[in-house]
């Protein structure tokens, strides 16, 4: 979404919060559709991560910046400006989705508008974002641009994350890596994932600036993410933002997350960032009760319309599919 240069802090907060509301409403619907057997494949949602994800998305501009959203970034995707139909068409198997049924759920993207389409291999998108920025530097188009990659605690164990972070630092690219430390990689807790005291300390090793924030707190998240994005945009090199929070869902909707301890759910990390944000914004007079109700209603209407549209559309037809794997027409085998 294009942020006006004159946008006030209050308006930025409101815009970010509204993306959270929309994302939660959409993902709740997708989860219901999954349970009703209406989804093609799995559903992967990001409740509990909307505050920090939407904060990142709302600091970036569609078709100007780069945002490699990952599995739990509906908040960020919405805030960045991804059309909602991309989500419903992908999940419901419409042939009109961004990958025309060739790939699904969270693997959708608009690479030419700055939203690369993630592969499942964690950490792999960090270097892709670096490459998009590297290209723009060569093309003289890097001024004022930021590239962001979203990852979780599990991805920090991969070689791809390490290589990508190090390369981004060596190339001194205007990157923000948002590390949502949501305590679990599928079922694996953080103590089986890393042994450092805090993930933000990894920034020291890479020679990048580290930031740490309570990811359940929208105002804190937006402040820290805005600062990191601003630093990157101003040429201060890669920024690593660690947001501590708890994944408030299973890995996917097939997973009931029985392994998440009750005391963790009840801890400060387990707060629902959307509820926290509602209280914050009402208490701080960023929004009114009436606006909150209205935004929720409008989100529900938008979701309903996007689902209905996608449900009416046909799935891909294997007889119409061209099965072309090469962009060069001459290389594709003739049928």
């Amino acid at each position: 979404m294009v942020a006006a240069a004159s946008e006030t802090w209050e308006d930025h907060v409101r815009r970010t919060f509204r993306a959270m509301v929309t994302a939660r409403t959409l993902e709740s619907k997708l989860a219901s559709l999954y349970k009703a057997g209406k989804i093609v494949g799995g559903v992967y949602i990001g409740p509990g991560q909307e505050a920090v994800s939407a904060s990142l998305g709302s600091c970036l501009t569609w078709d100007h910046d780069v945002f490699a959203a990952l599995i739990r970034d509906q908040g960020g995707r919405t805030a960045f400006g991804e059309p909602m139909l991309d989500a419903t068409r992908s999940y419901l198997g419409s042939a009109r989705g961004p990958s025309r049924g060739r790939d699904g759920n969270i693997h959708r993207g608009h690479p030419c508008e700055g939203l690369p389409a993630m592969i499942s291999h964690l950490g792999a998108m960090v270097s892709v974002v670096a490459g998009m920025l590297f290209a723009r530097r060569l093309q003289g188009r890097l001024d004022g641009v930021v590239g962001a990659a979203s990852i979780g605690d599990g991805a920090t164990s991969t070689g791809a994350f390490h290589e990508g972070m190090n390369l981004a630092a060596v190339e001194n690219l205007p990157m923000v890596v948002l590390l949502s430390n949501n305590q679990f990689a599928y079922s694996t807790p953080t103590e089986r994932q890393f042994a450092c005291a805090s993930l933000v300390d990894k920034a020291i090793g890479y020679g990048v600036t580290g930031h740490e924030v309570d990811g359940t707190d929208l105002l804190a998240s937006l402040e820290v993410v805005s600062k990191a994005v601003k630093s990157a945009r101003e040429g201060q090199g890669p920024q690593l933002v660690v947001a501590n929070l708890l994944r408030l869902s299973g890995h996917g909707e097939h997973d009931d997350a029985f392994y998440v301890p009750e005391e963790l759910r009840k801890s400060a990390l387990g707060r629902d960032c959307l509820e926290v944000a509602e209280q914050q914004l009402l208490a701080g007079s960023y929004i009114t009760e009436a606006e909150l109700i209205q935004w929720k209603e409008e989100a529900a209407e938008e979701v309903q319309a996007a689902v209905a549209t996608a449900q009416q559309e046909p799935g891909p037809d294997p007889y119409e599919e061209d099965w072309k794997v090469y962009a060069s027409p001459d290389l594709n085998p003739e049928d």
């Binding site: 790939d103 792999a124 490459g131 290209a135 060569l138 070689g159 290589e163 990508g164």
Partner: protein, 324 residues
């Protein structure tokens, strides 16, 4: 034989690409001021300082960077210091680059140079042939130039393609193989077309990369015994020019597929499979394969010479085929 080597051709192609096309850049370990481990980028950093860039030892991230840059309209060339090390970048090659166009409709035109194959004393981790492993994956183009002219023109063609290309250059040919100039003799063949490098009528040897030269030497030896062996240089192993191969087998009735890669599956198995399926009626004898041994590539030249196909083993395989 002239003085232009196979590595000269690669260097010249990269020079010409950089000079003519601002979208082209080279990213790889030691490719900058040092000029590359094999000097394939010698002097290019001085001419194009921003576009011939040293990379950290991060094969995964190097390919990821190239894909990202390609999305943004660039034409990156990634130099793997040795083809063997591309295994570290395997995920980005097959899952990121190979799937990108199919999944998103946005091309990912990267060229990955793979210094491939054995040389004396190189051992298990500096000698591998990776073309078969990449050819398995959809969306990738795999080229294996065997001549100085092809080394030049196929690199230009690879970078011009809108698809990810693995350019498998053979290290054994780097300085040994020479030509008068970079000009192609005869017709310019696009990627995906094989070339009959020696016509014959008694048997067809289908091969690629450095083994083309071993096969030609074997054919010379067989000629002294009165046999006319047709040698087909595949040039690109994916797409594979089945038509040219089958047309050759139609003339000769006998097939030997030779490759330097490990024997399990791979390019030679694919050639035999296609000929058997589509041209079984053309065969006068069971089609044969000759590959390296199914062990890591050994270090000592005595063992290495016995590990890969050579003039002697190819000649013996042809003689066996002619007796079948």
């Amino acid at each position: 034989m002239g003085e232009v080597t196979y590595i000269d051709a690669i260097r010249e192609a990269q020079h010409d690409l950089l000079a003519k096309d601002e979208r082209v850049f080279i990213y790889g370990q030691d490719v900058g001021a040092f000029g590359g481990a094999f000097k394939a980028t010698h002097g290019l950093h001085e001419l194009f300082p921003n576009r011939v860039v040293d990379a950290p030892i991060s094969e995964d991230a190097m390919i990821g960077l190239a894909v990202g840059a390609a999305i943004e309209g660039m034409r990156p060339i990634v130099e793997m210091q040795f083809a063997d090390f591309s295994s570290v970048g395997f995920n980005q090659i097959v899952n990121q680059a190979g799937t990108h166009f199919y999944r998103t409709g946005v091309p990912a035109p990267i060229t990955v140079r793979l210094p491939s194959g054995g040389t004396p004393g190189s051992g298990p981790f500096h000698s591998q042939m990776m073309e078969s492993i990449y050819a398995y994956y959809p969306g990738l183009v795999i080229v294996t130039p065997a001549t100085v002219a092809d080394a030049y023109s196929m690199l230009l063609d690879a970078v011009a393609l809108d698809d990810p290309v693995l350019y498998c250059e053979h290290k054994f040919l780097y300085r040994w193989l020479k030509a008068d100039d970079l000009e192609q003799q005869g017709e310019h063949l696009p990627i995906g077309r094989a070339r009959i490098v020696r016509p014959g009528k008694h048997a067809t040897v289908v091969t690629y990369s450095a083994m083309v030269h071993e096969a030609l030497r074997a054919s010379d030896a067989l000629a002294e015994e009165g046999w006319e062996i047709e040698v087909v240089d595949l040039r690109s192993v994916k797409p594979l020019d089945t038509d040219t191969v089958i047309a050759s087998v139609a003339r000769t009735g006998r097939l030997l597929a030779v490759g330097e890669a490990f024997p399990w599956g791979g390019v030679t198995a694919e050639v035999v499979s296609r000929v058997t399926s589509d041209g079984f009626h053309l065969l006068d004898a069971p089609p044969q394969r000759l590959n390296s041994r199914d062990t890591p590539v050994p270090y000592h030249p005595n063992l290495w010479q016995s590990h890969r196909p050579t003039l002697e083993s190819i000649s013996a395989a042809i003689r066996d085929l002619l007796r079948l």
